[in-house]
């Protein structure tokens, strides 16, 4: 088990002075309460890290919840959470959302996203331009992008979704979505997106790569397949960082927890196991 070395080093130094009292003490002296809210995509990662962290620092209480990325930095600003988990850097302006002043963004994972279609769709590959035209409603029939003569059903995530923000920024390069029509559908979660694309013929949507199933088809974008390897080698561009937002610089237990989730042990172990990509993969 790895305990924080910085604390151990401090303990080493004070042990020389026999009269000293506990200054740093054992790493397990760390106490505090951490409340985390935000992205549902990051919740499994947060709870896994919390479970491991508590064995190193039993006196730190961590509770987590999720209700979509935007509620992360909102909760931090409101003062009801110490960490806001969000699928974009909320200290910057992004399509649809103004930056959260005074919040600090901490990268915790790389999340790849894929454009996905129902299995009946014959198209395997779309260009950025074709994706922009489909999601903005300019192109409405699969035959115009090399498929069969059938209306395209666009499935979009609701406003506030981190996946939506990332897909709009990275796959559509900031162009707008259509927002209504008989061939437009809006869903509230990754689970609903999965169901909608799997069960709606001629549907197109987008989802975290980890949630792509054998009952749907992930599209190549500009001839590049959405794979972890292509994210790491820089050819596949539709991915984003998952962030932990804090009000100013974190300290105490919150700082230690963020350091734990960013540590080599967690990034190369449990984080990969949960099918996220370590932040160090793209340094």
């Amino acid at each position: 088990m790895k305990w924080f070395k910085s604390l151990s080093v401090a303990a080493l130094a004070i042990a020389l002075v026999s009269t000293s009292v506990s200054v740093a003490g054992a790493a397990s002296d760390l106490k505090g309460k951490i409340v985390i809210n935000g992205s549902s995509a990051l919740l499994p990662l947060t709870l896994q890290a919390a479970n491991e962290f508590k064995k190193l620092h039993p006196k730190v209480k961590i509770s987590a919840s999720a209700a979509g990325s935007i509620t992360g930095p909102q909760s931090v600003r409101k003062g009801i959470a110490d960490i806001g988990a969000v699928d974009w850097d909320a200290s910057q302006d992004v399509p649809g959302f103004k930056k959260f002043d005074g919040q600090v963004a901490h990268k915790v994972a790389i999340i790849p996203f894929a454009a996905v279609v129902n299995k009946n769709v014959k198209v395997d590959d779309l260009t950025t331009k074709q994706l922009q035209d489909i999601f903005s409603g300019k192109v409405t029939n699969w035959k115009d992008v090399g498929g069969e003569d059938a209306d395209i059903i666009v499935v979009n995530r609701a406003f506030g979704s981190g996946t939506r923000v990332n897909f709009q920024m990275k796959a559509l390069q900031g162009t707008e979505f259509i927002s209504k029509g008989s061939n437009y559908k809006e869903v509230k979660s990754s689970g609903d997106m999965k169901t909608a694309v799997e069960t709606t013929p001629n549907a197109i949507g987008y989802i975290d790569l980890v949630y792509v199933t054998s009952n749907m088809k992930a599209l190549k974008i500009n001839k590049i397949a959405p794979t972890e390897a292509n994210v790491v080698n820089g050819t596949y561009k539709v991915w984003g960082y998952g962030y932990y937002m804090t009000k100013g610089k974190p300290d105490g237990a919150t700082k230690a927890f963020i350091e734990y989730i960013q540590s080599a042990k967690f990034q190369n172990g449990s984080l990969k196991k949960l099918k996220f990509i370590p932040i160090s993969a793209l340094k």
Partner: protein
Amino acid sequence: MSMVLKKASLVTVLALAVGTASAGAAFAATATATSAVQITNSAYIVNGTTVNLGTITEKGTTLVSLRDLSAKLGAKLQAAGGVVQAKLNGHTVELKAGSAVLKVDGAEHKLNVPVKNAKGVTYVELGAYVEALGASLYEDGKGSVWIDAKLLSNVDRIQWVDAERFIATQENETGRADYLVEAATGKYRLLDVAADASELILAPNGTKVAYTNAEGQVSVLDLTKIGRAVVVSTDTNIKPELVWSADSASIYFLQGDKGSVIAKLDPEINKITKILDDKVDYKANLEVSADGKTFTYTVTKPGAVVADANKPVEEDDVSIDMKGTEPQIYQFTVDPSVKENKAVQLTTSTDDKVFIHAADGSSVAYVSVSADTSAKSTLVKVGKDKNVASLYNERDVYQAEYAGGKWYLLTEGNGDDQFVYEVDPATGAAKQLYTLSSAVSGIVVKEGAPLAVIQDGRVLVDVNGSWKPASK
């Protein structure tokens, strides 16, 4: 077999700054001669064996006989034109009598005290020479100095394989490396584990480890021979936790990113069987009884959030209710005779529950951490009757490990130190075994193996009451 544990030995942390004036003062034997050069035979433990080395103390710094130490360490010496060359661990060290410079692989290092010739013997600064050779020097709390030619460095964590060997893991930015280490000698070999492997889960019989990777595959590495890991399951489901069966034949696992399903893998035939799929998310800390029928785990409920997406973002219309999000312990027993068999929730309390272990398949022990952080953390047990009883509540418990029918607790000590207690879960009897420095960050136990501690990133193993360094 009971654990080999020695009584109350004290690990005192002395900053043994290699190459500085503080090194040496503590361990050189006293010399009474009045001549300018006092040569003393001093006891050191070199590569695990106690030997006498000729030493000189000058300006509070210990100089050691170059020939004596090099021979014991296994360093090769060669002299030409007044320059002595020593080789060990791929390093070349050059030194010259009267010179305060040590050349290490061509780079110059300043010595506190120049290399000295006395009665035809060359003496060199102990700490600096050992460090230059890539060897390690460690002084234990009793004043014994351990010098080892080659120890594994920067070990992040270990687990005992058997009474003699442990697996040591190094973590770095790009991946990891796992080694099989002989505790007595520090000798190690690299295990062929994939860079994207999760932590290694040791089979109870100590002959193999299992791990999963980013593709969800499960691999098994045989520790009894040198070779590669074998993929035993190509299933791509996420597997947050792996647990070996008591007979080391099958692997149980939690499945999915939310750990919702309990399943069993038969590695021989790559077959997966679902044990429990009750749609309850965030199971963790899975334990399986020896008969493979009772499954103990925690369930963590995320908090409830109310947010109105139709309100402007600036209004921060969010509220969070974290009530009931503390982990609770559940048990599921496979019983085909029970219709709609369900898991039973054993606990309902609001404390945090860590270091959970279902010792005998009936009662479950864990460290209970109060919501009030000033309160002591205690070891408690809960039975099928859901009654919680205390096992140990004298001192604040930092870590609890179970081995050979006993609990081993790292607890608060007096002031700056920490204690290790052995607690008998049957009687609740607690016995203090060790006093440890506050720099000890964790204990590692296994039935039959000595106790090991991690202190400042260094693995120390209890060898007959002394703390032998097994890594540097």
